[in-house]
Amino acid sequence: MNKIRILLADDHQVVREGFRALLEAEPDFEIVAETGDGLEAVRLAEHQKPHVLVVDLMMPGLNGLEVARQITQRLPRTHVVVLSMHANEAYVLEALKNGACAYVLKDASAAELVRAVREANVGRRYLSPPLSEPAIDNYIQRTRNSDSLDLYDTLTNREREVLQLGAEGHTNAEIAGRLFISPRTVETHRANVMHKLGLRSQTELVRYALRRGILPIEETVKRHG
């Protein structure tokens, strides 16, 4: 019978022994090596070429995510089961991104870990409840939407006014007169606008204003042309 060769990496010895006993209770599981150090785990894996690496997310030397990334890159046959105390989609996502096949919560039942190892061994994904693929997808959707900041939104109302008047070619003194604030304040606002938008010159400011439709193109052409 072909046993599932397992490398076990967890920095807490008590926890590691617990897991070892739990896994060795399965007749077709074989623990080929165990370690409490991330770097050591990578080295042992390259030497032993286990079927499954069971690795704790938190590891000294090299954390579990990085161990997973390196091993799945170098040993395509080895599948990784990540042990974690975090029932959090961000961790799961990060673990999956780093090549992990299964994500098991440390306070999950023994049966879950065994199941995760079996699933991982054949390259199937396993997530401890309440984690689930739909939950992960939901998280991805949610967070992807957030990655769309328009820097214009970071401007305060005052800064938007200064941006527009500045792009129209008014001097700080003129803007100050229009907005009933001091030229020094205008200068500060203008500097903040440039900084927030990552602009370095008046030309870039005008170009930005045109691109954003703050300055109508025809009018600008008329005025400057």
């Binding site: 990085e66 961000a90 990060e94 306070d107 990655d147 820097l151 939104d153 970071t154 005052r158």
Partner: protein
């Protein structure tokens, strides 16, 4: 009677004696008057000189008796130092015209080189036939007066030079009207101001002080000591100056001489020093406040952790121990239920410990970075406060920053959200995170009631705001709060970051 007197030998003798007495008297008078008297005959020969004249001219009687007017050539000068030619001597003119000559001041160089000064006048003398026979020169010795005048003139010149070239400004005013200003003052003011009222140049704030000083000088005080005031020029420039006044006499009038020193440089340096000092002082007290707060925060955190450990974890562990005790004594059937209960307690304990650990520091911040940690925090924040966070970011997902920067950004957001819950009343908050030009910025915008950030800081009530500022400042960053009561708040924190994206994650 006269005929008789002449013809009568006795009376002639008497007359002769009388004449001798008269001559004698005349000579005594001539010697007694304090004026020099000479007689010069029509040929220009000196025929008489009294002892005052002899002393004045520095000659002996014998020398003088042999001299003619021409011998004084090149020895007589006018007051202005020009040589007086012989024909211009009052006596020469008198002999030439037969007219009395008015008083003229002339100097005569004596053989010893000393110049004596006198007021000369000349009267014609006619013989019995009415012809001009001589001229009598009289003069008063004014050498002493002339020398005193000269000394005075020299002293005045020295004074003038001293005043004129003094590096401090000096002006003289009579009853408040400027009558003189020295070069330093003229050059510094840059325009003519003589005849202008002196008060025109005194800053209104100091009118009272300056007028009081004038009053005291007028009442007889001789000097008013150095005193700092501000001056104002016609162009409005205000200068810090130091003035000292002194009562002096000018042409017999009592006037005031004022010395003026420009101390604007010194004042500027003073102000700069004071400002630096107060900045250092403010920084020191901010630091003191911060360290006091740090200690307070640390203590509060410890108290919280201690309470959590005791109230929750301790209680659960006690209950768990009781479960185990019951298990030991219970029957197999009964213990199954107890074990089930114990497992529930263990689960709860695991959850409690995890929450506590996350409250102290979210491991996600270290493991996954700012964006996932913030997402996680916003979920939790919504769960506890009911305030929804709209999170938008750009350019930060695949980047990691220095741990202290990530921590600071995270804590600023955490603190700002806490403030939102406490003060703003907003039900939705927007958090923005972005990078630009080697900086990482985070912004928390809430549409709540808003506040006056400077006043909040000044009142010192918002230790949170001050804490954020200190945290950012320690990393070379800054926190800007734009808020107006009634229209919400923009809090923007900015941290400098190196532009090297981290490898790995």
């Amino acid at each position: 009677m006269t005929q008789n007197q002449i013809t009568n030998p006795r009376s002639r003798k008497r007359a002769a004696a009388k004449a001798r007495i008269q001559l004698d008297v005349a000579q005594r008078i001539l010697e007694a008057v304090p004026a020099g008297i000479c007689q010069v005959d029509s040929h220009g020969a000196i025929s008489f000189a009294n002892s005052v004249a002899i002393d004045f001219l520095g000659l002996s009687y014998d020398d003088l008796a042999k001299m003619y007017l021409g011998d004084f050539h090149r020895k007589v000068i006018y007051e202005d130092g020009r040589e007086c030619p012989v024909h211009e001597y009052p006596v020469s003119r008198c002999l030439a015209t037969g007219q009395p000559q008015p008083e003229t001041i002339l100097g005569v160089r004596r053989p010893d080189g000393h110049v004596c000064w006198g007021i000369f006048s000349a009267l014609p003398v006619f013989d019995d036939a009415g012809a001009l026979s001589a001229s009598v020169v009289t003069f008063i010795d004014i050498t002493h007066r002339k020398e005193a005048e000269q000394a005075l003139r020299e002293s005045e010149e020295r004074y003038r030079q001293l005043v004129e070239f003094c590096p401090d400004g000096i002006l003289i005013h009579v009853d408040g009207k400027i009558v003189f200003a020295n070069r330093a003052l003229r050059e510094s003011v840059g325009h003519d101001f003589v005849n202008l009222p002196v008060m025109q140049f005194v800053h209104p704030d100091f009118h009272e002080v300056v007028l009081a000083r004038f009053r005291r000088l007028n009442e007889g005080e001789s000097a008013a000591p150095w005193h700092e005031i501000k001056s104002v020029r016609s162009d409005g420039t205000i200068t810090d100056i130091e003035v000292a006044s002194q009562a002096v006499a000018l042409n017999g009038r009592r006037c005031v001489q004022v010395m003026i020193r420009d101390i604007s440089e010194r004042k500027r340096a003073d102000r700069e020093r004071d400002q630096l000092f107060s900045e250092v002082e403010a920084a020191r007290s901010r630091l003191e406040l911060l360290s006091r707060r740090l200690v307070a925060v640390q203590e509060a955190e410890r108290r919280h952790v201690a309470r959590e450990l005791h109230d929750h974890i301790g209680q659960e562990l006690t209950a768990l121990k009781l479960n185990l005790d019951r298990c030991a004594s219970a029957s197999a059937d009964a213990s199954a239920g107890v074990i089930q209960e114990a497992r529930g307690r263990v689960d709860h304990l695991v959850k409690l410990v995890r929450e506590m650990s996350l409250d102290l520091r979210p491991t996600m911040l270290d493991d996954l970075g700012l964006v996932p940690a913030l997402h996680w925090h916003f979920d939790r924040f919504f769960g506890t406060s009911g305030v929804r966070v709209k999170f938008k970011h750009t350019g930060v997902t695949e980047r990691r920053f220095a741990p202290d920067i990530e921590t600071a950004a995270y804590r600023v957001v955490q603190e700002a959200l806490t403030n939102v819950v406490r003060h703003s009343g907003a039900k939705e908050v927007t958090v923005r995170l972005w990078t630009s030009h080697n900086s990482l910025s985070v912004q928390v915008e809430d549409p709540g009631v808003g506040f006056d950030p400077e006043r909040a800081l000044a009142r010192g009530v918002s230790s949170g705001l001050a804490g954020m500022r200190e945290r950012a400042a320690l990393l070379g960053g800054r926190v800007r709060i734009e808020s107006t009561p009634g229209s919400g708040t923009h809090l923007t924190a900015e941290f400098p970051v190196s532009d090297i994206p981290q490898s790995g994650s």
